[in-house]
Structure formats: C-alpha cells, structure tokens
Symmetry: C2
Subunit: 669 residues, 2 copies
C-alpha cells in the first residue's frame, strides 16, 4: 500500500492532467479485411495498467480486472475538478435497418483517427452490450473490421459484472415485494411489527432504513416501544395493491417465455398468485440510475426513491419502504465505476451502462463521459454513442442525459450508409443469408435520393437542439462515387455542417481522419444548445412525437395506473383533449418536471417497424405510461413492444465455442 | 508483456515450488470481541499480488480483480505436475442448529493456526456464498470473530462473478429449450432446417455443434444439401416433450414466488404455456459441473452432455442438441479459475464453487483443492470445507467429489459446540432475538450427554470412509470446563482420533493451535480410505439412508420421469421391492455408475427438519430422482424441499447499507 501511495505522489509531481504520453498500436491492415475476431486477436492489447497511466490515471485510482479491463474510481472527479472539460461529441445514426449502419464501428474509427492519427487526447464512451442479443440475433457490439474495442470477447461477455449486479439488485427488489405482500397477508400487525423490529439482546431497535420510513410517515420516534397501535399498523403494513406492482423481474437473456408469467403457484405461497413478467436487464430502472447518476451519494438516493407499486390507499411504495435501498447501493458499489478498455489502435475507451434505447434510455453513463472529459483536457475529445437512430437515442441523450449531466455537446455525428438509405427509399426487403438484391450492390441514384429523406429528417432532429451535425458516410466497397457524393450533397443541403465519407472499417483510424477533421472544425463552430421541451407532460410527449418522429398527433389507448396520485385513474381516451391533459397535469405533483423516455421501436421514425424512410400522416399511440422516479424520467410505451427479446430459430450461440487448448473464444462476432 | 515473462522467469529461477516466503498479518485482539465487520475492517489485507507471489504463483498465472481478489489460471497444474500433494483435510460438522456451530470459522481458524502460528504452508478452500441467504436470513459466510476471510464484503458480494456466470449460462439453456419448442411447434421441417442451417454467401454450412448432433444421430454427412428429407426431420426436430423438461431457470435471490410459475402467457407465445420453476443458482447443474470438473476440456464435455429433457420418443435431449454447449463453455471461461483471497492473518484462501449441500452437492471445487495441494507441497496442508453436517456435505465430499478427483483425504475435522449438542439432546427451541433459555447458558451435563448422540453418529459416519476424525469443540464463553471435557471424552469414546477445544473465534489462529497439532498428528496416522458404495442404484441410496442417516429403509413416493429410457415410466410404489429395482437397474444404461447426490434437509439426520439428535425408526421417502449427467451424479429428492429459499419478514437487507462518503459497506455480518 505504501508503494502505491508513493507512486501516486511521484506521478502527480511529474504529470500534468490533460498531457498524455500515449503509445499507439500500429495496425497491420490486410485485404480483404479478415473477420472481426481474427482482427481482434491479431492485435495484442497494451496491459491495461499501462494505458491507465498513459491517460493520466494514478495507480490507486484504477482497479484491474484481469489484464485488459480495469475499473476507474470516482475519486478522480475530485482530483481533476479544476481541469476544463474537453470537446463533447455524440454519435448517432439514421433509422436502423437490417443492413447495419456501423454506428459503433464509426465511434471507434473516429476515436482511432482523432487519437492515433491526429494525436489528440480522445476517449470513446460506449455502452456495455447485453448478453441477450450477443447469444441471440445481433452478436457482439465491439465495433467491426479495423475499428474495434479489444479484446472483443471480454467486452461482449460479463465485462466486470455490472449488468449482473443490476440483475441481482433488481431481482432482490422483486423478491422483497412479493415476500412482503405474502408476510403481510399471513400475519397480524403485531406479529409483523415484532418480526420487522426484532428483539436483539432483549431490546428492539429500528434500522436506519426503518427510521427513514417512520419519517416519511411523519412519525418522529426512534424508540420502537413508544409507537401507538395505529403507528405500528402504519409502519408495518405497506398494504401494497398487487394490481399496482410496476416493478418487474429481469434477466440478461433473450427469454421470450418470461414475457408474461403467473408466479406464486407453489403450495408454499398459499394461493397468492399473480401475473408478472421479466424484462431484459438493461431495461431495468437500476440501469437507468447507473447511467444517469452523478455520484455514489446520488445513486444511493435514486435507488431509494424508486417507486415499485402503490398501497391500496394510493400511496407510492418505494424501495426505501421495502427496506432494500441500502442493499441495492451495496450491490451496485462496484458497478458505478466506469470500465476502461482500449481500441485496436490503443486509444482509451470507457464502457459503462447499457443499450436498448427503444425500451430504455440507452446511453452510456454520465460518470464515464464526465471523467473522460476531464482526462482529455480542453483540447481533447470525448466521443459518446447514443443508441439506435437519432429519433431515439440522440433525442434521449439531449433531453434526458444532458439535462441531468449539465454537459453541452459540441458536435453530433450522424452515421449513414448507401445501402440503408436505399432501404429507406423503398428498396426490397433483405433475407438473412440470401444474396443482396441488386438494388443494394449496384448504383441506384433515384432510390438513394428517395431514402435520403430519412437522413434529412434525422439531421433536422439534431438541429432542433442547436448543435452542428457532421454526417459520416460509412462507405462499403459496392458504393459508387456518384452515390457517396449524392449523400454528402444532400446532407449539406439539409443543413449538416459537413458530410464526409469514411472507410475506418477497412482502414482503421486512417480511414476516418477526414471525419475527425470535420468534427474538429465543427467543434469550433458556434453551438447553440437548447432542449426540445420544458413543458407540462402531455406537451413533452406530443412535441417529441411531432418534431422528432413527424407524427400528426398522439393518442392515448391505455389504462393509466396512476401511482403518484391518491386515486387510481383508469382512462381510455382516443384523441387527447388539451383540457383533459391540463387537468391531469395540474394534479401531478413532482411529476411534471421529469423528462420523457419514449419506449418506441427503433426501426422506424413512427411506431410501426416496417415503415421506412420518413412516414407521415400518422397518430402516435401511447399504450401506457410508467414513471422511473429513481432514474428520473417518465416512460410512455408507444404501441406494443416486448420488453424482453426472444431467441431466433438459430441463435448466435450455435457458432460460439471455446477452444479448451488455447482458451480462445470462437464464433463471437 | 515482455516484463511479465521476464519476471516469471526470474521468479522460477529463484523459487522452489512448495517453499513459501510468506509474511503473516498480526492480529490486534480486542476484548470483548468486536463485530465481524469491525474486525474485518481493522485488518488491512496484503495486496493480493503480493500474497500470490508469496505462495509461489507467477505473475502471469494470476489475474487481479481489484486489489484483494485474483483469479488463478489453470496452467499452474501443468507447471507443478511433478510436485507431490500436501495433506488434505476436510472440515465438517454435527447436524446444524439455529445456534450456529462455526464450521467456516473453524476452517479459517485452523488454517490461521497451521500457517501463522505453526509456520506450515496451508491453504483454505471454501465455497463462494450465495447472495440469496446473504440478503435473506443467514448473512455472509466469511467466518467470524478473529477467524475470517477478508475483505468480507468482497467475499460475500459478487466476488469475481462466478455465480453470475452460472446464472447467465443456466438461463441461456432454459431460454433455448422453450424457444426451440416454440419454433418447432410453429414451423415446418423444411423452414426449421433452412433457418437452422441458413444460407451465408449463397451457401449452407453446419456449425461444429450441429455436426456433433448429426454424429449422435448416426448421420455421417457434413454437406447440408445432401441430407434426405427423413434426415432433415430428425436433425431439425428435437421434438421435446414439454412435460419432460427437467431443466429449471435459476436466480441467486431468495425469491419464493418463483418456486412454481406458469410461463409463456404473453400472446406472442401463442398459447404455448407450461409450468416451470426457478431454483437458487447454486443448485444449478452448472455449479456442480464447475465444482467437479478437472480442466477446461473436461468442463466443455460435461457442459455438452447435460440432459435437459426427453423427446416424445424418449431420447434424452442434451445441451449439445440445443446447440448451446459451446456458448456455455464461453460463459464459464473465467468462472473455472479459482479465486484467491486471504484470512485475517494473511494466509491464502481459494474461494470457488457454491454452497447448499442439501439441494446440491455443496462442496468447493476440485480444481481449487488440486491447485492448493500442489502449491502447499508435501509438508503443507489444504483444509477444505464440506457443507452442513457430516451426513450431507461430507458424505457427498467422499462419495462424489473424491470419486471424481481421485484425491484421498487424510483427516476429517468435525466441528461441534456445547449449545448445539444440547439442542440435539432435546433442549428448548430458540427464538431469534429472545434471550437464550438457561439450558444453553448454564451447565447442563445430562442434556449435553444426550445430545452427544448426534456427534457420535457423525463420527461414525466419517469413520465409514476409513479416515481419522478430529473433533473441534468450538468453545463459547458460557461453556463450562466440565461440559467441554464431556464432549472431548465422548468424542474419543466414539472413536475420534482426538478431540480438542478451540477458541479461534476470540483469539484467531492462536486459539486453534491445539487443533492444528491434532490435525497434524492425525494426518500421519494410517488412513484407510474407502467409498461407502460402489453398487447398483437402489442400493446406493439405501446404503446412504441406512448407514449415514440411520434410516430403517427407503420408500418411493413419486412419479419417476425416466428420461434415460425409451419409455416414460410412471411408478408409484410404496415400499421398494428389490426385484423391481433389479429390473430397473438392468435397464439403465450409463446410469448405474453415477454416484448419488441426496437432496435432503440439513437440519436433521432424517428427512424431518425438526427431528434433532439421532432419529431412529424412520423410512426415508424418495419423492423424485433427477440425473445430472454433466455433473455426473443422480439426484434423489428426499421429502419435500424448496429449491429456492424465501425471504423472512425482516430480511438481512434491512441492516445493509453503503456509506457514500467512505464507500464502506455497513450491516453485513
């Protein structure tokens, strides 16, 4: 320990924050480009403690997890408090298609360019992939070609256990809810109280969490023997309405048969069955808390105010009421620290928080971005990735993440490809494994031009926020010069600051230098950041629907379980009436200030996944609305969408295997 | 990397395996003994890389996980191949009572004595605790008082993610089973085949795992276009009988409402509902595979042959048939490496595999024991812990673990306490939080003498295996001299090699030196190890029931889903008839050689938890029998026993919290 402290001191003396002494890893480019895993393995990663030193981290700020991953302690924020932030770039895309646009690949290619080629301090901040899709349809998410996070198997599997910690924490809450309802249903008030505040050494004592509950109930007592019978009842009986439970169990597995289940059917549960469901772990509110929190203390507070249900009299029931909030903080103690990894060219990457910008907010963590912005210093760049298309991930990045972080982005990079735009233009559907229709491999300018409408709309969406947009045209070998030119021209006409073709997939950072330069120029352009909304609830939803998705209006088709009010309002409205909304908004206490996290398909600007391009003339249906009070957003569900994916007939796992001799992972891509 | 290799070489030159240069941590003993967490925090752990070096591990054999935990690579087994093994000691106990006997504490106290005080090379091999009980009733499992694994919060929470990896792997299998049944039910043979062997670049290709399935079906083809229609049907259609699925989902949470559930109730699953259940993760067959495997290659094979169901025609369906076996090996790639931690006095500990010797086999891993035995060298000691009482954990240690490892233990340490034996003698029940009845805090020799029957029986049980038994009497401050003497005398009369009182809880290793010396002497005594059985199936179960539990006989009260035979036999027999069993045994192919892993309550020698002491005159009911073919044992279920615990009215989590300032975990014990 003495050694560590000594080395930290020596380091501080010799080292200025923001001045990096970093070595880059040289790529040995092959043609044709080998498979992702072959490239990933051909590069030896720098020992992660070396990289940590190179980017200005002190040895006692870093916890190694094997030789290629490390967690970074939050103390560093204090140490670098006075350091000005670097430039903040968010990478987003056009509406995704089955053809893949290469958003992660572009994020990594861009940082390889800015770092290894333009010699700027740069960090990529990306999200930890969910293991559901890794073994299901999508495969891994480490980038591709010569623009990857390595080692990709470490990146794609377990990482340092953050998602597992969320699963454990989330399901402890779920178990606590059902166990509590069961114990309350089968015990008298007195028995409940005696068990909740048990004798220990002949005395009863409240735990700190129980004193918080007493305070919430307005009972200013700390001696368990002094409670009146009425106070005992109020304290001991949460009286959860089983119908009101909004907290779901989670797994990081594509297990579609858990989408709707009946629980409690064992005779030991004495007939207290109810319907429930599992979601994918990354959709848990705890994941959103992790992504949006600013410190350990803030996380502890957010984890305590998560609302899980309402009582029969309409009171919101929180994790603090269940007594489980402290345990959640303990389970999340390590997960809050961002994970350090590296790109193929040896530039640093933070991997933190999770994906699924359709059913979650799907952005990497505020903490990772903040630490990275300090580490790169004022001339450096932090490139962070927002999930799916700009209507989903970027909109949430601005309206939710930037709102909570206070950070203001300098540039939006919007990734587009010729093929995907052709599909938006009405190109034929693509069947996995079948040769691509000729529309996608031969020049077709009219189709491309038509599809550019989607790009134009997404540029507009970014411009709503007042931030300059650079379009990255991720080139494929079958794209023609005329096609690439067309996209660039149309992007500029639509108001992009610049539009640049890039070839980082085939060439690594060298293929994204032009993009890097455009981003650098854009970061110096005037940025006039503003939020899209700052309005009562219905208008927030409508404004997103109209301005971002291009809807005519929104409609409500749902039962609204309103667990914030003292009454449970069941509403079934077809067209929203402003009068109704005004009434509702006025009643909502502590609700109207929360931003909106739409749960909407990522495959279309509208709520219908098969509507490509820029759908018009549609009304956006809102099926339900949930509140993530700990995370700090409202969660309208648009249309019907499963919150846990399924496995296809032939999941990715068929190809995945371990070589017991070399210990190599095969088949991950 | 170059540095690592160099240091490893230098290390090899200067270092002889088995010769340790280890520094011990001095305890600063306080009276009265502070709480476990206060003691744990008062000791600064050695940096784990230092400890690794001290016990002869090379730097490239160790993967650090933070500063206090590390994983040890399996390569070391090859490096130390020629090194003779150390002495092998297993710690077990009398039948557990709510009073706690201190088995983990004794394991840790003993290694602290052998190491820090007797200056012998010594390793403790213990199991990773399940987070279910950590947040439920039991609390942590790091030992107690001045005999603990530190830091206890790292030990009790997540560790390096092994149990999380098992949860992920287990549930991927479960999702694959239900998804496969669904896809088969909703697609034609041709469509199934086309999806299972999809076109890629215009061609179809089998994955390696699919070729294994073809071989199993006797189809010696590798070109997907050459299969006949009949072969396509046989290959593509597993035709799983939903009623036959034995594979359950798991969580490492005490969630009783998942004991019996109905899944598939979402409209997306088109009515294919079925009953299912969740077990606690540590009861997963994959945990048993982890504990019993001998290498990465062996693990890969075991993970492939796990049987999850039978087809409608009675064929066993394995994880390999599902195509998921390789992915399982990949998910378990890091979990197979034992985790290095340390005791309060700085001696090394391997933490690997899981508890629950009642519903699982509940022993630490063979790999950890094997590596430790090489590291300590021929004069050193490895002390491994078996779960619950000697009738459960120790019986499984001998009959299952030693059978697969080939290792032969030198000494059994049986832990007993005055209080627990008094309870076995018929002492009054104890209510949590209430003062202990006077029987337990005042001298009561007749009650103690009566209760010693349980200890006598457990000594006999150990002696069935031909290994010398040392009884460790874990002393409490209220125990009298006469009581402690009585136990020691009765233990020796019952055939123990020695019986020693110890006070390691209050004094650390210094309080267990007498025990250490007795163990050292016993390890030099002649040991005559033999298995309890090597017989056809029914006799194995009966011999355990009669010889270990003291039952008169066994009876079958169950529906026997026999997924190894080509027919599904439903048997409802009351008293076992040898003729029936002989018939059955003859039909069982590849079944009769497997050892038995009884699922029985740990709270009594019988199947009834409230029967203390040595129950007699009972017939042991066998409710069901399952086969863990990957792990390699048969799994008879004795009586009714939940395979996932529940949360009490006031779970441990009420006391657990994180101090956001100091980052300390409070309330874990």
């Amino acid at each position: 320990m003495a050694n560590t402290v000594l080395s930290a001191k020596r380091f501080l003396d010799s080292h200025q924050p923001g001045k990096w002494d970093i070595s880059y890893t040289k790529l040995n480019l092959q043609k044709p480009v080998p498979s992702d895993i072959v490239i990933s393995r051909s590069c030896v990663p720098k020992p992660i403690d070396c990289l940590a030193r190179e980017v200005g981290l002190m040895s006692d700020e870093v916890e190694l997890y094997g030789k290629t991953k490390a967690k970074v302690q939050l103390d560093i924020i204090k140490r670098l408090q006075a350091q000005p932030d670097g430039k903040y770039v968010v990478v987003t895309g056009i509406t995704p298609t089955p053809l893949g646009e290469g958003k992660s690949t572009t994020t990594i290619g861009l940082v390889q360019a800015l770092g290894a080629h333009m010699k700027l301090n740069v960090f990529a901040c990306v999200r930890q992939p969910s293991q559901g899709p890794t073994f299901g349809i999508k495969g891994g998410a480490a980038g591709g070609g010569y623009s990857q996070v390595i080692p990709m198997e470490e990146f794609n599997l377990h990482l340092t256990g953050d998602i597992h910690a969320i699963t454990a924490a989330n399901n402890l809450v779920a178990a606590a809810i059902d166990a509590r309802m069961f114990h309350e249903a089968t015990q008298s008030d007195k028995a409940l109280y005696n068990r909740l505040v048990p004798l220990s050494g002949g005395q009863r004592q409240f735990s700190a969490i129980q004193i918080n509950r007493l305070k919430k109930l307005g009972i200013e007592k700390t001696d368990p023997t002094t409670l009146t019978e009425e106070e005992i009842t109020r304290f001991a009986r949460l009286d959860i309405d089983p119908e009101s439970v909004t907290w779901q169990r989670v797994l990081d597995t594509n297990d579609r048969f858990l989408r709707k289940i009946t629980i409690g059917q064992s005779p030991t549960e004495k007939g207290y069955t109810r319907e429930a469901q599992f979601d994918i772990t990354v959709a848990s509110e705890i994941m959103a808390v992790l992504a949006l929190t600013s410190s350990l203390e803030d996380m502890r507070l957010r984890l305590a105010k998560m609302v899980v249900a309402t009582s029969r009299s309409g009171e919101p029931i929180t994790t603090e009421d269940l007594g489980v909030s402290g345990a959640l903080a303990v389970l999340m103690r390590d997960a809050i620290k961002p994970n350090l990894m590296q790109t193929l060219e040896g530039t640093p990457v933070f991997v933190h928080a999770g994906p699924f910008a359709n059913i979650a907010h799907g952005n990497s963590s505020i903490l990772a971005d903040k630490i990275a912005l300090k580490l790169v210093g004022p001339e450096g760049f932090v490139v962070t990735e927002a999930g799916f298309g700009a209507d989903i991930g970027m909109e949430k990045f601005f309206n939710i993440k930037c709102r909570y972080s206070g950070l203001r982005p300098h540039v939006v990079v919007l990734v587009a490809t010729v093929r995907a735009l052709k599909m938006h233009g009405g190109g034929p559907t693509v069947t996995a494994g079948m040769p691509l229709p000729k529309e996608y491999v031969e020049e077709n300018l009219p189709l491309l031009e038509k599809g550019c409408s989607n790009m134009r709309k997404q540029i507009e969406n970014a411009k709503h926020f007042g931030v300059p947009v650079v379009v990255a045209v991720n080139a494929f070998k079958t794209d023609t010069e005329a096609e690439l030119d067309l996209i660039c021209n149309m992007a500029k006409t639509a108001g992009a600051f610049d539009a640049v073709r890039c070839s980082h997939w085939a060439e690594g950072g060298a293929g994204a230098v032009a993009l890097g330069q455009a981003v650098q120029r854009a970061s110096e352009a005037p940025s006039n950041f503003k939020f899209l909304y700052d309005l009562p609830i219905v208008d927030k939803i409508r404004i997103i629907a109209q301005k971002i998705y291009g809807a005519d209006d929104i409609e409500l088709v749902f039962f609204f379980f309103f667990f914030f009010l003292c009454v449970c309002v069941c509403v079934c409205v077809v067209i929203v009436k402003p009068v109704f909304w005004d009434l509702l908004s006025n009643k909502i206490i502590g609700f109207s200030n929360l931003p909106i996290c739409m749960a909407k398909t990522h495959l279309s600007l509208s709520h219908e996944a098969d509507k490509k391009g820029v759908p018009t003339g549609f009304i956006l249906p809102i099926r339900d609305i949930r509140a993530s009070v700990g995370a700090g957003f409202l969660f309208p569900l648009v249309g019907t969408m499963p919150t846990i994916p399924g496995l296809p007939t032939r999941p990715c796992f068929y190809d995945i295997d371990l070589d017991p001799e070399t210990e190599q992972v095969n088949g991950l891509f």
